[in-house]
Symmetry: C2
Subunit: 191 residues, 2 copies
């Protein structure tokens, strides 16, 4: 956690939302979790909860973008996906399968939190594009790389939800293995 109280509130909101969803996370929970002074929330987020949820969603998407960018500098797409997936498997186990993805939670908000939903949509798109670019660097054509990247993001998000519901990392681990096989087959065909 950083020392800036505004940033601390955003990070606390992201952590709460990934577990409790947007509806289930109150300002009061965020104040308690972040240690921010009660009453300071409208000072930092004049548009209220909608703004806090939107910024927490962007924090969640940026967190993945930063991790993925760093990983893709040193490793190929398959290894980067495995690294990210195993990191998430650890979050699932450490939280006793209560913590999921704050961006997925925001994606389900629809017209209740349109700014957060849009931030989730843009985040997913950014992840898809980063993976697609990585796959192109490994020799895939754009028309093969783009839908495979969409499959990767979709299946990882879905697998985290299946893992939470079934209280086991089996679905996530199966999906990571499948993605690795798919990428190997696709880049093998391209080579």
């Amino acid at each position: 956690m950083t020392k800036n109280p505004r940033q601390r509130m955003i990070e606390s909101a992201a952590v709460l939302i990934r577990e409790k969803g947007v509806e289930g996370t109150s300002f009061s929970d965020v104040v308690d979790a972040s240690g921010a002074p009660r009453g300071s929330i409208y000072h930092y987020f004049p548009r209220g909860k909608a703004q806090l949820v939107e910024e927490a969603t962007r924090y969640g998407t940026d967190f993945v973008v930063a991790g993925l960018a760093a990983s893709l500098e040193d490793a190929n797409v398959a290894a980067s996906v495995r690294k990210f997936g195993m990191f998430y498997a650890e979050i699932l186990r450490d939280s006793d399968f209560t913590a999921g993805c704050p961006v997925l939670a925001a994606a389900l908000e629809g017209e209740r939190s349109p700014a957060a939903r849009d931030a989730a949509g843009q985040g997913f798109r950014q992840w898809e594009e980063m993976l697609s670019e990585g796959l192109r660097r490994e020799g895939l054509k754009t028309e093969d790389a783009a839908p495979l990247a969409t499959l990767i993001v979709s299946s990882l998000e879905g697998a985290v939800a299946l893992s939470r519901a079934q209280r086991t990392t089996r679905p996530l681990e199966a999906v990571i293995d499948q993605i690795e096989t798919l990428i190997d087959a696709a880049t093998g065909r391209a080579a």
Copy 2:
């Protein structure tokens, strides 16, 4: 909608939950949507909202099981997945991207609604097993069919969430195409 008021409440709850999530759906919403007499809800669901949400989740999983079973009698797995995916694309468009999957919403409930979460987990498992069995009938070995079935369920659930967030069926359509290609490749290898 059926005529039985209890069943009508379960179906209304499933429809509301797929749009508003579990936290966002109140008893009062369900009473309004189902036309049930106010005050009848505890008569039909003595364990309260937890019971209603659990039964709505089972209704959602059983709905998919019935559709998938019927489809798999006449068509192969790839065609059944396409049929189901296109049906969902229509739900997304018809609802202006507000309606998702009630089972996914329940999957994210954790300890707030453990019975609904467990029902979601069992439902996902049942879908995985039906698809895995279908893939085995098409010649795949269990060790290849099972993780591919998990990938299919995970990626469809994730793609519906991506489609809602991005307000386009592009992710869902890309995932349906990818799954079809994967199944063709896997059954082609097995043949």
